[in-house]
């Protein structure tokens, strides 16, 4: 009320003082909307924390770029809302042959892209072939998930050597797409649900020159498709991105094949600061924010709906076996016993955080209920250190700054607590803070300068290979060159098992051995990231993969 009056006063003054001389220079070109940012009833405003890179999903890999992409596009298979289980989307059903190399998709009929062109098997093949035959180092280097899952291109640029997993795509009829692989990978079918593999309109791709990613000096310039005309089949169409205001507008797609959006419009407002997002929520200008700081959760819960997503992540303490002392399993076990993870979860974890016993969440296939657990015990830690002759151990403990991640909302405080635990059993800790993009990843993942480090992961899809396989599937500077070749072999074996039951058994054994035999890292916790909406927002289904589709959201 006061605000409105003040604003009116300002308006009057502004008009009187400034307008007289300058008016009439330019005519407004906007429509009839005269309402100054007030509620229109049908607009859902969500605060994002950073700029998307662009809107072509294949060139993106981060949550801020995926949030709008998930509203505009669909994938063949989707995660069932609120879970990491798979459910049909553009494909109604799918199956693979006995070798696991040929995947047949039965496609949904009558689906149209936003530009009115029909979705069919030819469109699916067009997209898969587009990715496979993408040219140019610039474009290929930006296709992170494609590189991860499909490993190589028709023609790899530069020194890249990846052997392509993808072989070909065939469209025997309009509603059947058959995708053939060169070899089986455990990542499928989960990986088909990755937002990066969203299906675009072939017409729009061609019309707006989607494959052109050009190098301009030190950087890449994207094309009109990714910047201005992303065209999918999703519940919202792309309305525009006003960068000087930091607003992305999405409009309701009245022809959506699934549950049509309840709101007319969705705006993603980009607000970099955590505190400011919260204040805008309190001011009522935005109706939803993501990843509130754990510190604010309780206060926010009084006035808003704080929805905790099921934790689909892991924070771990990595151990670098380049240090010969750390090659001794007993020393690594001593470190595990020394950590009071229960207390850490209690004092620093967001509500609902659980101590992790394995390096993947319990909902993932191959989670073994009976791995060796390391209950907090100063005595056991000290004794193991003594047995190993490592009582005077000094370790360089690297931790990141300038970053928060859903699994690691406060890295410095986590470090402080863990370092304190280690010191309590007589290990001297030399803390080394490094900026996340300013050397931390280099030092830890490329150069292996550390002895201990904090890192974690949010899963992309429901597959043990996406967790344990990613961490320990091959030799990495992160964990040193300890003789863990048997671990690499065991993981490769489990990942290559096509038969479901066999796969489960194999991964369970891997998890048991990781915990008791190899212990390359100590799992710390699974922390559920939250999403907060105002009380009048109904129907939001939070996803463990942060794969929220806002078509179900309504404002009351």
């Amino acid at each position: 009320m006061q605000a409105r009056r003040l604003k009116t006063a300002i308006a009057a003054t502004a008009v009187a003082a400034l307008a007289v001389g300058i008016a009439g220079c330019a005519e407004s070109d906007r429509g009839s909307s005269g309402d100054s940012g007030g509620k229109t009833g049908g607009t859902f405003v969500f605060a994002g924390s950073g700029d998307p890179k662009n809107f072509d999903p294949i060139f993106n890999d981060d949550g801020e770029s995926f949030r709008p992409a998930r509203q505009i596009f669909d994938t063949l298979i989707q995660n069932k809302p609120g879970t990491a289980d798979l459910v049909g989307a553009l494909a109604e059903s799918w199956e693979h042959d006995a070798t696991g190399k040929v995947w047949t998709f039965k496609l949904r009929q009558g689906v149209k892209f936003h530009d009115g062109t029909p979705f069919n098997a030819a469109a699916v093949c067009f997209n898969f072939d587009r990715w496979f035959t993408m040219k140019g180092a610039a474009a290929q280097s930006q296709m992170l998930y494609y590189g991860d899952v499909f490993e190589g291109f028709a023609k790899n640029e530069g020194d890249a050597t990846g052997e392509p997993v993808y072989k070909s795509c065939a469209a025997p009829d309009d509603n059947t797409a058959v995708i053939s692989m060169n070899r089986y990978k455990g990542a499928f079918p989960g990986a088909f649900a990755l937002t990066s593999f969203s299906i675009s309109s072939p017409d729009a791709l061609k019309k707006y020159d989607a494959d052109s990613v050009t190098q301009s000096g030190d950087s890449f310039t994207y094309n009109d498709y990714g910047n201005l005309h992303p065209t999918g089949t999703g519940p919202f169409t792309f309305g525009g991105w006003d960068k000087s205001k930091g607003e992305i507008t999405l409009n309701r797609n009245p022809d959506y094949w699934g549950e049509k959006a309840k709101v007319d419009k969705m705006i993603i407002k980009i607000i970099g600061e955590e505190t400011t997002r919260k204040q805008e929520l309190r001011a009522g200008t935005v109706q939803g924010i993501d990843f509130p700081a754990p510190a604010d959760a309780a206060a926010l819960a009084n006035d808003f709906n704080v929805i905790a997503r099921p934790a689909f992540n892991i924070l771990y303490l990595g151990i670098n076996q380049k240090n010969p002392k750390l090659r001794d399993l007993r020393v690594r076990q001593a470190i595990a016993y020394a950590l009071n993870r229960q207390q850490l979860v209690q004092t620093k974890g967001p509500a609902g955080t659980k101590v992790a016993d394995e390096l993947m969440p319990g909902t993932v296939l191959g989670y073994a209920p009976d791995v060796q657990k390391y209950e907090y015990s100063v005595d056991k830690a000290k004794q193991l250190l003594k047995e190993a002759g490592a009582e005077n151990l000094t370790l360089n403990f690297y931790y990141p700054t300038e970053v928060t991640r859903p699994y690691m909302p406060n890295p410095q405080e986590i470090f402080t607590a863990l370092a304190n635990d280690l010191q309590a059993v007589g290990i001297k800790v030399n803390g080394v803070p490094r900026p996340w993009n300013g050397g931390y990843k280099d030092d830890v993942q490329k150069l292996g300068k550390h002895d201990l480090h904090l890192l974690g992961w949010t899963g992309d899809y429901n597959d043990p290979g996406n967790f344990v396989g990613t961490f320990f599937g091959r030799e990495k500077a992160e964990f040193g060159d300890g003789a863990m070749t048997d671990m690499f072999a065991a993981i490769a074996g489990a990942d290559g098992t096509v038969d479901e039951a066999g796969k489960k058994t194999a991964w369970e054994q891997v998890n048991r051995d990781v915990a008791s035999k190899w212990l390359p890292a100590i799992p710390i916790w699974h922390a559920p990231p939250s999403i907060v909406v105002t009380k009048n927002v109904k129907g939001l289904i939070a996803s463990p993969l942060t794969d929220e589709r806002f078509n179900t959201v309504s404002l009351s």
Partner: protein, 314 residues
């Protein structure tokens, strides 16, 4: 290449420097002290500065606890969204890591003093060296050194500090100190050079020169000591700028990365910001401490500047 800004600053600084350098010696200081005592704002500043220095020096005696120690009482009820408040033995409660907040505030004076003094001293030493070389040698050395300060003055100070901090391959408290110090180098250099130039033509230097005293001796014994008055006044003012800049860097996430060190700017820029809604005291107390100390040094510095300003001599 003459930078406009440098010209302006130079003019201002030289005026002050000349004033300070004029009669020279003990008489000025005694006179200044007398006038300072009559300036109430200056006295308030002096008292604040003195109290701050005492707090920093005797922190171990005053603080109830070790600032780095985690206490069971404070960690038991610690949660991600709750930090225990005042309880017996811990009058201000805990910090986000289960340590005694009061002790950290008290020890914070030490670290703040350390950062402020060191940043000021390093800036002063480097600036004075450059200014003295330029002022004493003149000619192309002067030209070159002054052009260097021009380029440094071309970027707004905090931007320069931000740039310098990011440059360090490994950030630490030292990078913060170095960055804040560097920003002040050109100011001190300009100031001292102005004073030295004024000295060069003054009677006692001319007298010494005519008596055959060597150039080096003239610079070290006569010109430099008499030029330092203005520099010392500036240093007092620089101190408050230094602790404010250090706090700003912390706020931008470019400060000292070791959050275990108790320093006010750091406490305000990290914990204070993060837990503002949960426990605003974590922000208020270090902020108040910074404001009071910065104000103290500014009041004292302004009073000193006024007291050596010839306009006020009556």
């Amino acid at each position: 290449m003459t930078n406009v800004l440098a010209e302006k600053k130079k003019a201002r600084l030289e005026q002050l420097a000349q004033a300070a350098a004029e009669p020279g010696g003990v008489g000025l200081w005694r006179e200044a002290l007398r006038r300072l005592r009559r300036n109430p704002a200056g006295m308030v500043g002096a008292v604040i500065v003195l109290a701050f220095l005492l707090l920093a020096v005797f922190a171990p005696l005053i603080a109830p606890h070790d600032p780095a120690q985690r206490f069971k009482e404070l960690t038991d009820n610690l949660r991600a969204d709750h930090i225990p408040g005042a309880m017996s033995g811990f009058p201000l409660g805990g910090d986000p890591n289960g340590r005694d907040f009061l002790s950290r505030l008290i020890y914070g004076s030490r670290q703040t003093l350390f950062v402020g003094v060191l940043a000021t001293l390093i800036g002063l030493t480097a600036g004075v060296t450059i200014g003295a070389l330029a002022g004493a040698l003149g000619g192309w050395v002067d030209m070159l050194l002054m052009r260097l300060t021009d380029v440094m003055l071309a970027l707004p100070s905090l931007l320069l500090a931000i740039s310098l901090v990011a440059l360090a391959s490994k950030s630490s408290q030292w990078t913060v100190i170095a960055a804040v110090a560097t920003v002040n180098v050109p100011i001190f250099a300009r100031l001292l050079r102005g004073a030295m130039l004024a000295q060069r033509e003054s009677d006692h230097v001319l007298a010494a020169r005519s008596l055959g005293v060597k150039q080096r001796a003239i610079v070290l014994r006569h010109m430099l000591p008499n030029s330092l008055t203005a520099v010392i006044v500036q240093a007092t003012l620089t101190f408050s700028v230094a602790i404010l800049d250090a706090a700003a860097l912390s706020f931008l996430g470019l400060g000292d990365p070791d959050i275990n060190r108790a320093e006010w700017g750091l406490m305000l820029g990290t914990d204070g910001q993060r837990y503002f809604e949960v426990r605003p005291e974590l922000a208020y107390y270090p902020a108040i401490a910074i404001v009071v100390v910065a104000l103290g040094f500014t009041l004292l510095g302004e009073a000193m500047r006024e007291s050596i300003d010839p306009k006020n001599r009556r």
